[in-house]
Amino acid sequence: MKLRSILATDCGSTTTKAILIEKIAGEYRLAFRGEAPTTVEAPFEDVTKGVLNAVMEVEELAGRKLIDGDNIITPRKGDEGVDIYISTSSAGGGLQMMVAGVVKGMTGESAQRAALGAGSIVMDVLASNDGRKPHEKIERIRQLRPDMILLSGGIDGGTTKHVVELAEILAAANPKPRLGTSYKLPVIYAGNKNAADKIKDTLGEITDLDITENIRPVLERENLKPSRDKIHDLFMEHVMQQAPGYKKLMSWTDAPIMPTPGAVGALIEMVAEKENISVVGVDIGGATTDIFSVFQKQFNRTVSANLGMSYSICNVLAEAGLKNVLRWVPFDIDEKELTNRIGNKMIRPTTVPQSMEELVIEQAIAREALRLSFIQHKSFAVNLKGVQKERTISDAFEQSESGESLVDMMDLDLLIGSGGVLSHAPRREQSARMLIDSFLPEGITQLAVDSIFMMPQLGVMANIQKEEIAEDARMAAIEVFEKDCLIRLGSCLAPVGQYKVGATVLITELTLSNGETQTHVLKSGDIFRIKIPYEPVKAKLTPGKGMNIGAGKNEVIETTIYGGVVGIIFDGRGRPLEISSDPKTRISNLTNWSKAVNEYPNLNPNSES
């Protein structure tokens, strides 16, 4: 079947978003979009109502019939309906899991990676060596009431004792699922295969046990895919079945419903693979911040469950500290007044900044939420721990150990931001600055934002397994991602090295597509922007003495770079970025940095409060 029109929805906790993709003049493009409040909770208690409302908006805009009564018309009949309908979901708090492994830093971490990669929130990691006594673990399991548990431990053929011990703890806790009392808790066993029978004896009766391949069959290798797939299956079979209206929704879709972050991850993985690049993607929401990365072809996802811009905004304040938030605010403000304002945003999460001051404060908090989430991500996205590496003499001098972070900012090619504060910032310059200040990219990095957060829908599309439509769907996902989903902000050029005051850190010679040439000199401590649209620009980058712009210290690079709606930002402020603790200097620096990229041209601090 050739796909001509695809309808996709994402059922979030508060909003259900629908997009219609159509093949227009030989290429897939986003045709229309619509949204409506999610209807999982009372008084509606049926997710499909919100879906139909969102699709109805699309229907009106498209001017053709997509719904017949209470059903989406698939397959397409003439001018009515769509070829396929697909959906993701994070309604009802998403998928909440608990994982267990024998050694926290090894199988525990592999299990966590599998669960996060599948799109779940990991509520806790139980491990034989986590320092908690059995009764403390039992109490914790009971308290948390996860949707699902992933139990792993031991390499194939190794000792079975520890993993069986964990199973006994689970059995003793006799955990109940979060939603519904009428079904048994799904447990996935992905540990030492020799222990499978004993695990069955221990957990087979009281839980809904599923046994899959070992997540860590040998110490040197992770095998996450079978567990991730199993999590998706069980998410559909058990968790989603409990959510109101999902049975009906599942009967409508042409591919399994995926957890929203799982779908985003799948898309980012695909983009990185297709382009052969390193990518970091971030989705900053009201309650949580998800970070996805692909470095050295390894995918990682983390979710900072309590770092967000509304529901969790006070937690950002608590974790970052007021001082760290204030260091991004280019005016004086009473600290107590500020904390009350932030508190009020938490209890009235849907409000928007009306005054410029409020916007600046919100974007200051976003910088900290992103920075903290990225720290968590870097410490989790690591090489496998516990692996003995073969070393040559030269390696011995590098002292590289197992468990080092895969995240290398100099290696990063593309940084994608999404979520209200980044996607809907009034000026794209603000999004670019937030991304640069919190992620601190090094060398040459392209920046982009997801225009209307359609990565989830595109992720499911890219993952459709049905053979006859898989290829078209993947193509549609890639084309729409490139043309309609991403807004290319531009590139950030940030040389790294020992900064000396006033020294030249980078000389850039650019040849634009119209043949025009430009030379730009970046001095230490400065930041500036040149306006160049999203097009290839030939660049010769000569780092200052002792500086590195990507190829090593003092190494010149000749390459192609891209502009965007913001342009190319030259960042000579140094890495790590140091912000003066003297309020006067800080405010003066922040104001200059803002002016350099035209971030807040209308900021007139303290005009009103």
Binding site: A91, H135, R341, N344, P353, M356
Partner: protein
Amino acid sequence: MAHAYTPGLKVLHETKINKERRLPLKGTVVVENGTTVQPDDIVAKTDLPGNVQMVNVANQLNIDADDVNDAMTVKVGSEVRKDDMIAETKGLFGMFKSNVTAPVDGTIEVISDTTGQVVIREAPIPVEIDAYMSGRIKEVIPEEGVVIESEGVFIQGIFGIGGESRGDLAVIVKDREEEITEELITSELAGKIVVGGSFISLKAYKKAIQMKVAGVVVGGFNYFDLEDILGYTLGVAITGSEDLATSLILTEGYGKIRMGSQTFDLLKEHHGKFTSVNGATQIRAGVIRPEIVIPLSGDELKGDHKDAHASEGIQAGSLVRVIRAPYFGRMGKVVDLPSELRKMESETMVRVAIIEIDGENIEIPRANLEMVETD
């Protein structure tokens, strides 16, 4: 007519109030349909499974896990008392025996020959659920709980801490501007639900706790003072399980904000009536706001009910409250709801409402308005 959905807090002088009272696990419902109940009456009860203790018998006796079954002196299902012997080695010629005793009273649940562990489960923990407010049992959910129906005043706050509480309502300020000060909290207020105006300071709230006041309902409190009360920084607004003798309900928000006149006047009207409050707040999907319930009976009811679930959204003429700076806390009437997006000072493009505040028409993002639902 232009129309917008805006979250609103309910301030209803007379409505039907339905409260679901549900057990955490299946159990027994002890009241029948139609029964009249008082707040302290038990409506359902159950036993939570007891705590579990794990004893590594193999390690303690220094034997293989396979041999644990042979060493056990009790079987699965046996009841044991603390310090009872549960396992013993054969020793050498009957001498040098070592043994393991039960660390708690309980029942032997598992003896594992893989790990050598023995699981002892302690006695079940009884849980009872009371009615919380006076009313009539409208529905029995078999083995799970009941729905209680009552009629009376129903007011939602914006944020609270502490769980359910009850007592006679005592309005202790002159008007909705007045703060609750330390001096206003006296020992006569023990067991009462105290109502203030715009603010309660940390000191005054601490005194209320000390004086065993059952609950405080007030316009505002300082966010940064919560840490002092809770012992931690409140990162997400999920509350209700705090161990606090005095529940606190804010009707407006953080800071000093005078209580809405509808709320204040309604509470004042019912000064002295028995009131149930719940500070539990959950600001996530499935939002739960703190509540004040004053069940009324017979002649106190005027019969002009309003359904607590009905919400028509804001329209021209609606009474709204601004819930974000720069006009935070101000109330006004909706004059117009223009459909096109307007640019704010922050350059954000939003849907707005034109609000009349003190005779002046002001443009406010609709997202920054809260409907005040009155009846």
